[in-house]
Symmetry: C2
Subunit: 253 residues, 2 copies
């Protein structure tokens, strides 16, 4: 932990459909979990509208303050898919048709009605200087530009692109989470939680209350890059809860 470099990423979710409430975002949780497995901490997310200026400004603010920046959304074939244009604006370059992306799309659409139309060819556009992120299960690839990884908005297509990137990004140690649940109102165990966190430097303990089947409860999540420390702290918290009269539930409720 101490002395070890820590790696961070930010995520920009691009989409009027998320900001209007029409579509429930699923990419934040998916990208967050994947990043954690790569030893990279998701430090910030911004959700912005389909607006080239706003996207470009946000990308430039975040790509400089984090090791990695991911974006989801806006890379399809229709007029509202403007992420590549925004990225070109952010980097001050033109957009070009990437020759490998054109070849992938030519192969993909060869036997499909209509073939590679102009609209479909839009999906081969990248900011000049970009590389492709392979999409193992469908045609259009993602795009990597500097430290920015441009993913699709449809969650299962974004998942395919993350799969292609697994193990390829430099990161540190994944954060280990240990969860202990109890049928306790969190206000009743607030002191106990604080004391447990204070006596174990290097861990953070989050308290997540719920009310289910007419009873209060909470899950306490102990997080640390030191897995052994996280587990030891979990055991200590379980003992303290038991002493206070609450039956701990390892793994959470």
């Amino acid at each position: 932990m101490s002395g070890q470099r820590s790696w961070t990423a930010a995520l920009v979710v691009i989409g009027d459909e998320i900001l209007s409430g029409r579509t429930q975002d699923l990419n934040v949780a998916q990208v967050a979990s994947w990043l954690n497995e790569q030893g990279i901490r998701l430090a910030e997310v911004r959700i912005v509208p389909d607006d080239i200026g706003r996207i470009a400004e946000t990308v430039n603010a975040l790509r400089r303050s984090h090791d990695y920046l991911f974006t989801t959304g806006g890379i399809g074939p229709t007029h509202d898919d403007i992420t590549v244009d925004a990225m070109a604006a952010a980097f001050g370059v033109s957009t070009i048709i990437h020759p490998d992306a054109r070849r992938i799309l030519e192969d993909y659409y060869r036997d499909r009605p209509g073939g590679l139309t102009d609209a479909r060819l839009r999906m081969a556009r990248v900011p000049e200087g970009a590389e492709l992120i392979p999409n193992p299960h469908s045609g259009a690839p993602g795009v990597k530009m500097g430290n920015v990884y441009i993913l699709a908005g449809v969650p299962n297509i974004a998942a395919n692109m993350l799969e292609a990137l697994t193990g390829k990004l430099e990161g540190g140690r994944p954060v280990v989470s240990v969860t202990v649940g109890a049928r306790a109102a969190e206000s009743d165990v607030a002191d106990l939680l604080r004391e447990t966190e204070d006596s174990n430097p290097g861990v953070a303990i989050g308290s997540y209350p719920f009310f289910r089947e007419g009873r209060y409860g909470a899950n306490f999540v102990i997080r640390s890059e030191d897995g052994e420390l996280a587990r030891r702290t979990g055991d200590e918290l379980s003992s303290r809860l038991r002493e206070a009269g609450y039956e701990p539930v390892e793994g959470g409720i």
Copy 2:
């Protein structure tokens, strides 16, 4: 529309549990839908960690650039609930125990085991100068500080606080959405969509593809503050789709 003032809000989601991927956020969609009903457009969302400095900085950036700022998360009784402290830091004021909040909590905990403990009293803390947002269904209220509305993170408690605010915020006309679906690959109708949008100034058309039961499809969402225009454009899009050989599905697929 033209000449009419437009009202915007931003939302800050506070929570390590969202950024770690452990918890699926549900507040963005809920706050977005509610704001739209109030005639206020959600223009940006930021998700930030449980860090006083980061929260304060984000709040100060966004409360000045939008009519309203909402936050969710971090207002419970445990050590990781730091939103009120961050808000006080953002506004450069102290935190105090709000007398009305203390009274609400005294009533709420009077007949409950333990009564109003110090930990529970933490939920009566507000930045100096703040007002309360009533929480009709449980004890702890939300907090209003200037144009900032501080809501709970647990989605159904946040919903209660929004309910208490319904109709109380000044806003414009709600955006009307009309959805038309079709069993079409969006790349096949990209030109048709762009033409429909171009010939109807004042509408934005979003295209949201899916792949279900082995078939491609997409929903096209026409949005405008002018409900009549949105409906007329929906009819026009349906006609164009039918002419192109796709059966339109009013209301979406």
